[in-house]
């Protein structure tokens, strides 16, 4: 019997963006409110998993042509690179720096290298979750 996933797929197309937006929000808000790279990453992969459930592995591969193992490596590079970058300024490993910037529309913003570190965490978590789910799911 051929199944018809029209409702699921249509809903997914709408919901995925909401989840992704929420994930990005959680990621960026992490420094001030609950959240951060880890939960943000999990949430993002949750969105991708939803896509995976609604469609299938092949469609997803066309849709999001990522190699998630590279994503893990890039994430690790971000985290370690942020840590190592502080060595250039003659301060101990993993010393973060931040500045406050006053932008016309957004108001007071702080730019923080910890965000780059958290971006590494984010990428690693997404990469790890997706690698695990894809390898197990793709296995016969």
């Amino acid at each position: 019997m051929k199944t018809n996933d029209l409702i699921l797929q249509t809903t997914t197309k709408v919901v995925v963006f909401i989840i992704l937006l929420f994930a990005v929000y959680i990621f960026f808000a992490g420094h001030y409110t609950p959240g951060g790279g880890f939960v943000g990453g999990l949430m993002t992969s949750g969105a991708i998993v939803l896509l995976l459930l609604a469609f299938d592995l092949k469609t997803l591969q066309n849709f999001l042509p990522f190699n998630y193992i590279y994503m893990i490596a890039i994430g690790l590079l971000f985290s370690i690179g942020t840590g190592a970058g502080s060595l250039l300024f003659n301060v101990p490993f993993l010393t973060h720096a931040f500045t406050h910037i006053d932008l016309p529309i957004f108001g007071d913003l702080s730019l923080h290298t910890a965000t780059l570190f958290d971006l590494g965490v984010f990428l690693v978590v997404v990469g790890v979750t997706m690698t695990i789910i894809q390898t197990i799911g793709g296995d016969e």
Binding site: G36, F98, H112, A114, F117
Partner: protein, 799 residues
Amino acid sequence: MSLLHLAIISPFLLGILVPIMYKLLRRIHAGWFVLPLPIFLFIYFLSYIPITSNQQTVIKSIAWIPTLGIDFTVKVDGLGLLFALLITGIGSLVVLYSIYYLSKDKEQLNTFYVYLLLFMGAMLGVVLSDNLIVLYTFWELTSFSSFLLIGYWYDREKSRYGAQKSMLITVFGGLSMLGGIILLYLMTGTFSISEIIQQSNGILTNPLFIPAMLCILLGAFTKSAQFPFHIWLPDAMEAPTPVSAYLHSATMVKAGLYLVARMSPIFAENGLWVWLVAGFGIVTLFWGSFSAVKQTDLKGILAFSTVSQLGMIMSLLGIGGAALHFDSINDSYFSVATVAAVFHLINHATFKGSLFMVAGIVDHETGTRDIRKLGGLMHFMPITFTIAIIGTFSMAGLPPFNGFLSKEMFFTAMVRVLEIGFFNLETWGVLFPVIAWVASIFTFVYSMILVFKTFTGKFQPEKLAKKPHEAPIGMLISPIILACLVIIIGFFPNLLSNTIIAPAVAAIMPNFKVDVHISFWHGFTTELFMTLGVIVLGVLLYKTFPKWRKVYKLFPEKFSLNRLYNSILDVSQRASRTITNRYLTGFSRTYLLYLFAFFIIILSTTLFVKDAFIIKTNNVSSIHISEAILALVISIGAISIIFAKSRLTSIILLGAVGYTVSIFFVLFRAPDLALTQLAIETISVALFLLCFYHLPKLKKREERMRFRITNAVISVGVGAIVTMIALSAHSNKLFDSIAQYYVDNTYEKAAGKNMVNVILVDFRGFDTMFEITVLAIAALGIFGMIKLRLEGGKKNENQ
């Protein structure tokens, strides 16, 4: 580094060169490269005789590990020089003999001479070292090189057996000796033998004195093949005959004697030492000579004969130790035993070396060493026969050979035991001369068997592999030289007395003025009649040997020491295998059982020994109703997991527990944790379900977990212990938390308001970095496990 050090090291250095020369000059027998070294060393050591005969010693020292008091100190005194001369002298002869004995084309000569040189250097190191640790190092090197030499024909099973046996026994003794050395160091604070001797009076009453003595004696007894450790020596006869002649008659087996002699000034003040050394010696003497008679292998007879003669020297050293009690009397009356020991040591090296070489010649020229097949060789090998006659008669203690002189002195010493008025020697001491006399009769009998069964009687050509003929002259040179020494020492014993024997005796008994004079004829004394009795009874026993041979059947093989040794090996192997199999079951549940059991035992013992279990309720917050309900829910969930019938129920209950935990996080105000816990719990339940779905169809049975009382006890125990520790840790808070710092500085220093996240990425970002690395490794591991399957895996799946 002095010339003396170089002399000890030189064999090792030459050992490096031998394989190279062997490969380069294939046409020349490798032994010729080796031969000059022992000769040169012999001459070099001869040059020390003028020094030592004036009772002087030469000490040369270089630092090795000065911080531990271990220096490579070489000391040449009378005793060391005597042994050095034996080692190099007989070493030269053995190398010469081996050149003709071992075939250039059939044998791996390079390894043989490397091992032999290794042994020679190690042996020189043993007898010339003044530092006990250095001595021990060389001691183990002799065990090791002897192991290599016994196993020289490693493709034979008996060689390997003999090598292993000698290794096990001598290393066992060697390690015990190391223990003794360390105990001596604890008592005196030095490893130097001369310094220990100077302090020897102070340590007599030390509680470590007796253990140290026993340990050292164990080392000496195993090395010198004393009863009951003699069993390795007959099996070591699987070595090539030059090796047997060198190691197992003249040098290595005397290392134990050397050690006893060297340690006498330290230990012999104690009666136990005298009794142990003399007692084990005399028992060995008797047992060795008694067992030698029943052997049918030429080298077997010689091996047991060596055991017996070593026992004789050992017992003499023991009795000689008793003389140390007469500090006041400067009389050589009691020191005759020590003189006899040293004298017989030399004599034994000469005649036993020649006899082994004779046995090797017979083996080489007829193809067998079995005396039942041999006979009537006198006409084919007149020179060998002459040498054998000289050697055996000297061994049996007949005039005019040197063995006669030392045997007379041996009897003298044994008879005088009765006059020593302490250590109970005046009563039980009577056993010594009696056993010694009986043993001498057996010595006579096996000596006669050795020479007459081989060389006289009926010639049996049909039993021999080869047609017998006289050995080549090169093979005969060494035994001829040794036989000549037997006669020369026999006729002119005083040649050696002042040059070699007196300094050696002086080294063993430092406080004595010893006047060594060995007289050939000393009148009609008890000893002479004892010797006459030995000869008469010995001849009688030899003539009637076939009739009383049955005596040996009375001692069935079942009770022999070899059986004991084999069964000890067997039993220990089997026992350790059984024990290992018993606890290494291969089931991880068993190992977890051990882990948790030890966890409980160690932690509960600590808790109760330290009296650390305290409950204080003054720092406890109040319990809210929602917390109580959640606790009830989580407990019901956790307990139901254990009793769940199906796995699916367990998985879902586990999920319930996880979500309840996240609600706990919400209640205890940890939003980050709650978020993460929710997400992670969802993923892990999904993975569990995946695992559940893929369980193999084969043998899939929905079955409840079986109840085991030990598992229940242990799990309850672990839970109780952890709870108790948590309670006492909470009640024992010693310091305030450092959390206030984070509260104060999260915004000030890190520009963040979410303290958890700031700690994770900023204050303690290092941890996070490696946690994401852990995640990455886990993902790659899963990817690898699933994607990379080797061929074998596929095959298994198909089956």
